[in-house]
Amino acid sequence: MCDTCGCNVTPGNRHLAYKPVNGGTSAVSVLKKLLAHNDDQAAHNRAHFDTRSILTINLMSSPGSGKTALLEATIDALRDEFRLAVIEGDLETENDAARIRARGVPAYQITTGSACHLDAHMVHEALHHLDLSAVDILFVENVGNLVCPASFDLGQHRNVTLLSVTEGDDKPAKYPVMFRAADAVVLSKIDLLPVLDDFDPARAEQCLRQLASTVPLLPLSARKGQGMTAWYDWLRSELAAQRARVSAGQTVKPYIQPDGARLHAEVG
């Protein structure tokens, strides 16, 4: 699956144990993450980013919740402050990459065909089409989908999940795997709240907290410029944190209850 990073030799091999069952049959106990190959490639991608002090953010949401609009507004506001780049993921078309390039920011479009998510190998391939030496923040706009993208580490440092107010306020309860994976949740299109009598932001937050999530909830409207300061401040603080980590020789994966993962004694 991945020939570039030497992942054929895995830590899982150390845990091979033989238990004879009967003649000619043996049981091998492994305890290995099913997506170990993807995770190895993701770690390789993350090393690329850390070498260049780049903060990489993976944007996930339903189709049409305003990921590209959020990026357009962010580019307009921060292009003089930071060097930005975008990797776009869609099943077909260059449309989103064209929208980003029209704002003067480099963008590479991954078209997945029929695949419902980006994986670490697709992102690695995309990295070869971008000049990473001139980037402070790299956004990866994942395929619009609240299910599959949550399962694949791409090498990003942070996950941001968008929930637009034109969707149901119980989306975090319906898609717990996705919303648990978020390091920040953006409540988008809040300028429409006055005409939507069935979306309660407090209920959306309650559904999020019931997933044991303590992450920031950022209500905003990219089109109308409401609530954007908190989003920009979050990006600034995350970039500062990334630079501090790089100086200290550390890296970080998206926050998915790391203690829980440790308690599983997972290998990989």
């Binding site: 699956m1 000619g24 043996s26 170990a36 695949a115 998510h117 203690d259 829980g260």
Partner: protein, 114 residues
Amino acid sequence: MHELSVCQALVNQVVEIAQQNSAHTVRVITLHIGPLSGVEPALLVSAFPLAAAGTVAASAQLVIEPQPLRVHCQTCGADTEATPNRLLCGICGDYHTQLLSGDELLLANLELIT
């Protein structure tokens, strides 16, 4: 339907381990899958024959051991059962909890014929 991608990754790992152990056939593959892994066991089972066709795992039985969803409360210290969209402490109801188990996506065991 990312279960096919997961199955392809699974078969790659299984084939690798079978080769390392000089096995010609894989008889049983045991997985640990939690409800918060993002993978649906039934879809994994239906995708498996497609991914395994033509490999040493083609005739293998896929056994999925579901894992319980349990959380540890940082406020009162209790360990309790939870549900995928309600990860609150079962004793005090607080949301400052850590997952103890339930997001596993692990290859646990292989039975090989050598």
